[in-house]
């Protein structure tokens, strides 16, 4: 592996145990940083509003992203469309800290993801299961997150994806080495990645939970299921008291095993985002890009 890829995986390691928050303005970015976000995701509209607005959703205005970069000292991430390497080049040109090749935006390519190994900046990608995660890593992603179902406030898909990934990992670790060739073929991944997972019992990169996290309890649930940190999108700035909720989620991620503390953190947070149930949505963003 080259040095740049190692450095990019290392940055994700520094984010572990932290909360990455979606923000749309410098003011929201400042609130997120104050509340203890370990990074912010700069985007023009949060997923819940993207879902409500419909239409084609694209990379954010670089001027807006730069405004957020100038406001905070923590890492700033931004999203590009799946397969849209020119958007990724633009984000690299403005020295973004991490690019999210994201199913939240409208896909630009229905077959190919970006060849992320051609970039110096790191990429995070969504995945529903182990095969997807390892395919993205093979393309050069240096961090993985569950896809979940963005903008719904419904945790069910993030839970499903995290469980799928973890059970996929457990399955590989229980295999004989000669069975890995067939497993690699089935997962559509190179043999060496299957071998890495079998020998280490985890992905070769950091794995966060994302998509539908709205409460401290949601965050604690995902951490106990094996997430190394969480992304919170619409859950914060679509709620009644964003700063208090954000701060509570940050503390719940640090002390996810202390149920007394998480109980206290869950008190009096104001209204949570309204949320849409899985069965009520017509657009499944998680089905974009496989």
């Amino acid at each position: 592996m080259n040095e740049r890829y190692e450095l990019n995986k290392n940055l994700a390691q520094m984010l572990k145990g932290g909360v990455i928050m979606d923000v749309t303005t410098p003011e929201q970015a400042a609130i997120a940083e104050r509340a203890g976000a370990c990074a912010v995701m700069a985007l023009e509209r949060i997923p819940a509003d993207i879902r409500a607005a419909g239409g084609v959703s694209r990379m954010s205005d670089p001027l807006m992203i730069r405004g957020i970069q100038e406001t905070v000292t923590i890492p700033v991430m931004a999203k590009c469309r799946i397969g849209h390497f020119a958007e990724a080049q633009i984000l690299e040109a403005i020295e973004i800290d991490y690019i999210d090749e994201s199913e939240v935006l409208s896909p630009a390519d229905d077959k190919y993801h970006i060849d992320k190994s051609k970039f110096a900046v790191p990429f995070v990608c969504g995945a529903k299961d182990l095969g997807e995660a390892l395919r993205r890593i093979n393309e050069g992603a240096s961090m993985i997150r569950t896809k979940g179902e963005p903008g719904t406030g419904d945790i069910v898909q993030a839970v499903r994806h995290m469980r799928m990934m973890q059970s996929g990992i457990r399955r590989l670790t229980s295999m004989r080495e000669d069975e890995l060739y067939d497993a690699a073929k089935e997962l559509q991944i190179p043999y060496d990645l299957a071998l890495y997972v079998r020998e280490n019992g985890k992905l070769p990169v950091v794995n966060f939970a994302a998509g539908g996290i709205a409460t401290p309890a949601d965050a604690a649930l995902m951490m106990q299921l094996g997430a190394e940190g969480v992304f919170v999108g619409s859950g914060i700035f679509k709620s009644g008291n964003p700063e208090k909720r954000a701060s509570a989620i940050v503390k719940a991620v640090t002390n996810y095993n202390d149920s007394k503390l998480v109980a206290k953190l869950s008190e009096d947070l104001g209204e949570a985002m309204v949320g849409i149930n899985e069965g009520e949505i017509t657009l499944l963003m998680a089905e974009r890009g496989k």
């Binding site: 450095l7 390691q13 145990g17 932290g18 203890g36 020295e95 940050v250 002390n255």
Partner: protein, 187 residues
Amino acid sequence: MRIGVLALQGAFAEHIKKLDELDVESFEIRQLGDIKKPFDGLILPGGESTVMGKLLRDLELLEPLKALICDGMPVFGTCAGLLLLAKDFSGEGTPVFSSMDIKARRNAYGRQLGSFCANADFLGVGNIQMTFIRAPYIESAGADVTVLSETGGHIVAATQGKQLVTAFHPELNEGHGIHKYFLEELR
């Protein structure tokens, strides 16, 4: 010997792994209850210093840990950990433990594209590989501070009394030289 590793956020697991490999007992510090039992040294890992500073205050860990550091408990801060110990900043930064007489510059090499690896001499350890991730450096150090390493014309490791700081991440590289150096302080 028991070492507490601040585990509020960041790359604390990598430090614990290094200590395990050296057969040194360690434990995670996530809340006040974790530091009730006595321990012999403290590691402040890499991560985001703003997050750790806030959680130290909110979880009421700041004052008790600061008292231990001021009483002479050996402490080792890497990257964000360096910032937690610094007394002064050039540019943005809020003092947290404010126990070490150094002036630090946050994100001194810029954004992630500025992250890099280097080889440099570390006093008493030798030439080692160093990994800098959105790293700070030490702009200036007080008279009681001993500079342990410089690279690119900037101070990247220093010690004062029982405090050791590195702007880079020895927990991410091969070898145990810097962790051994810290553990020597405890003996």
